[in-house]
């Protein structure tokens, strides 16, 4: 119970930090809409309503991916720059439980971007979502948000060693759109990239959203998504322990 309270309070305070940032606030509000606009303008050329729905759902997920990958890779770097990294590492709370609420706060911003993009699609492009199975669709959105957050968690721990990790976030942003099949069907990707797509939980979450929207069963997609997400968390937790031990032993990564 105490641990749950800790997660909730830390989540809320980290969410406040994200909300108070003018630059991050602006980018979180505007960027997903701009990306969705660009994707939908391309798809509108064909005049195919099904393709527009496909792109509309994918564009909604793009926002979460963007907000998560870019900010997650800079998460530890921001803590280091603020001088708080040493303090949170020196706290009795395990480091992974320090990072988890921060990634969840970022995921909440991502959740906003899904909702804002869906409304934007409807308002600007007249894409009305005809969802066959709303509960599953909502569950798919939540799972996409959570699993992308967990992927961000994994990224943030992996990138802790590198001071220039922000570049990794920027580099992953656009390939992720393709690899997760947000706006381009996975069938169009070369075979060699398919395993990477399948290892990314957001791929399955978006497939689940599309299946739910079309009235098909999303159970399989969501089951795989639900399995891959916790695997990210477990891997991130293990990596976090290793990295902190390395920091204590070798003084790299530097904590200050």
């Amino acid at each position: 119970m105490t641990r749950l309270r800790q997660l909730v309070v830390c989540f809320w305070l980290q969410f406040k930090i994200l909300l108070f940032s003018p630059f991050e606030g602006f980018s979180a509000v505007v960027f997903p809409l701009m990306f969705a606009t660009a994707a939908l303008l391309v798809y509108r050329v064909n005049g195919d309503p099904e393709a527009m729905l496909y792109a509309g759902i994918g564009a909604a997920a793009m926002g979460i991916w963007t907000s998560q990958t870019v900010s997650a890779t800079t998460l530890v770097q921001r803590e280091r720059r603020a001088g708080t990294l040493e303090l949170v590492v020196a706290a009795p709370t395990p480091f992974s439980l320090v990072l988890l609420p921060i990634t969840c706060a970022m995921a909440t911003i991502g959740l906003y971007s899904v909702l804002a993009t869906i409304l934007w699609d409807w308002w600007l492009f007249d894409i009305a979502l005809h969802i066959e199975n709303w509960p599953v669709f909502v569950l798919s959105i939540l799972m996409a948000t959570v699993t992308i957050a967990l992927f961000g968690f994994l990224l943030s721990v992996s990138a802790v060693r590198y001071r220039t990790s922000w570049a990794l976030g920027a580099a992953l942003e656009y390939p992720g759109w393709l690899l997760c099949g947000f706006v381009v069907p996975l069938d169009l990707l070369p075979d060699v990239l398919r395993p990477i797509s399948r290892a990314l939980a957001p791929t399955w979450a978006v497939e689940g959203m599309r299946a739910a929207a079309a009235g098909k069963s999303a159970r399989g997609d969501l089951a795989i998504c639900g399995a891959v997400g916790p695997a990210y968390a477990a891997l991130a937790g293990w990596l976090g322990v290793r990295l902190i031990n390395a920091a204590r032993r070798d003084a790299t990564p530097a904590l200050s």
Binding site: T2, I17, A82, T84, E86, V88, P92, A251
Partner: protein, 319 residues
């Protein structure tokens, strides 16, 4: 009685690598066998210049660095193996204005770290209120930290470090960069900690600060402890010795060095008590009247050459 802090022959080596294609490895021994003990309730100072190894020592004690060799215990817990137990019982504050979430208020910063340090929810409000009072930030806690002065940030840091009521408190150059008034208030806060019975390890490079606050001081230089004792004992050691600056004219380096080694011309000096800070010689004679030297420095010493003039300088009033 369990010691609050016990460091036994602590050593820490850092390895750095340089070069793009041909990588070269360089080992730097930052701490070279540091040993000391701190009793519960004691305010112990680690005094030394920048780069002496103070922060590295403190980081080993707070579990952020693993010693290369040697061992250390905090309240009987090993800093390498009992990490969680040590962290629960210690507070850590470093100098400078970093280490806080600028976009959060002072109160929110304290709430956040209360959660991370496991302060029971029921006690948090009361504890935060007490600490804000202690550090003189009551009434300003609702403001965002980005608007705080450096002194206010430092005091908030101290409040943060005390949230979980640690038994041992590590302060790493807390007054660095603070104006004299802020530093005085900070020293008053630190003195208050001792009155509360906290064990404090303070690192500083300000001698007056260590003198004013500490029960005992260890002087660290180049990773080694070169002196340890109460402020009075350390001052006694310094006044027993002589700091000597010698400038010679017209005498070769060898002759000067030989005299410096033997110290035979000054029988009241012993090698252990005296420290010769600077021996310099000028090869070209620069005539100077002996009487002027006498007036200037109060003492003239013959080193053996009738043509030589010596300038002896010592800051000690007893000389």
């Amino acid at each position: 009685m369990t010691l609050a802090v016990e460091a036994i022959d602590l050593r820490r080596t850092f390895t750095s690598r340089s070069g793009t294609f041909r990588r070269t490895r360089k080992d730097v021994e930052a701490v070279k066998g540091v040993s000391f003990e701190i009793a519960p309730g004691e305010l112990f100072g680690l005094l030394g210049p920048n780069g002496a190894g103070k922060t590295t020592t403190i980081k080993m004690l707070i579990t952020l660095l693993i010693p290369t060799s040697g061992r250390a215990n905090v309240l009987g817990h090993d800093v390498v193996h009992d990490v969680r137990e040590v962290r629960r019982r210690i507070g850590y504050v470093f100098g400078g204005d970093r280490g806080l979430y600028e976009r959060l208020s002072g109160l929110d910063n304290l709430r956040y770290f209360s959660e991370l340090y496991g302060v029971p929810p029921r006690e948090q409000k009361k504890r935060i209120g007490e600490l804000l009072e202690l550090v003189g930030l009551t009434g300003r806690e609702g403001e965002r930290v980005e608007g705080y002065s450096r002194g206010m940030r430092q005091r908030l840091h101290i409040a943060r470090g005390l949230l979980h009521d640690p038994d041992v408190f590590f302060l790493d150059e807390p007054s660095i960069g603070i104006d004299p008034v802020g530093a005085r208030e900070l020293r008053a806060t630190i003195a208050g900690l001792r009155e509360q019975g906290k064990t404090v390890l303070l690192t500083t490079h300000y001698m007056f600060e260590a003198d004013e606050l500490c029960d005992r001081i260890a002087v660290i230089r180049s990773g080694e402890i070169v002196a340890e004792g109460t402020p009075a004992e350390l001052k006694g050691l310094v006044s027993a010795g002589r700091v000597l600056e010698v400038e010679t004219y017209g005498i070769g380096d060898e002759a000067v060095a030989a005299r410096a080694q033997s110290a035979a011309y000054a029988p009241s000096w012993s090698r252990s008590a005296a420290s010769c800070r600077c021996w310099s010689s000028r090869a070209s004679p620069a005539p100077r009247s002996p009487s002027r030297c006498w007036r200037s420095w109060g003492r003239r010493v013959s080193v053996g050459s009738a043509t030589a003039t010596r300038r002896w300088r010592t800051p000690m009033s007893s000389w």
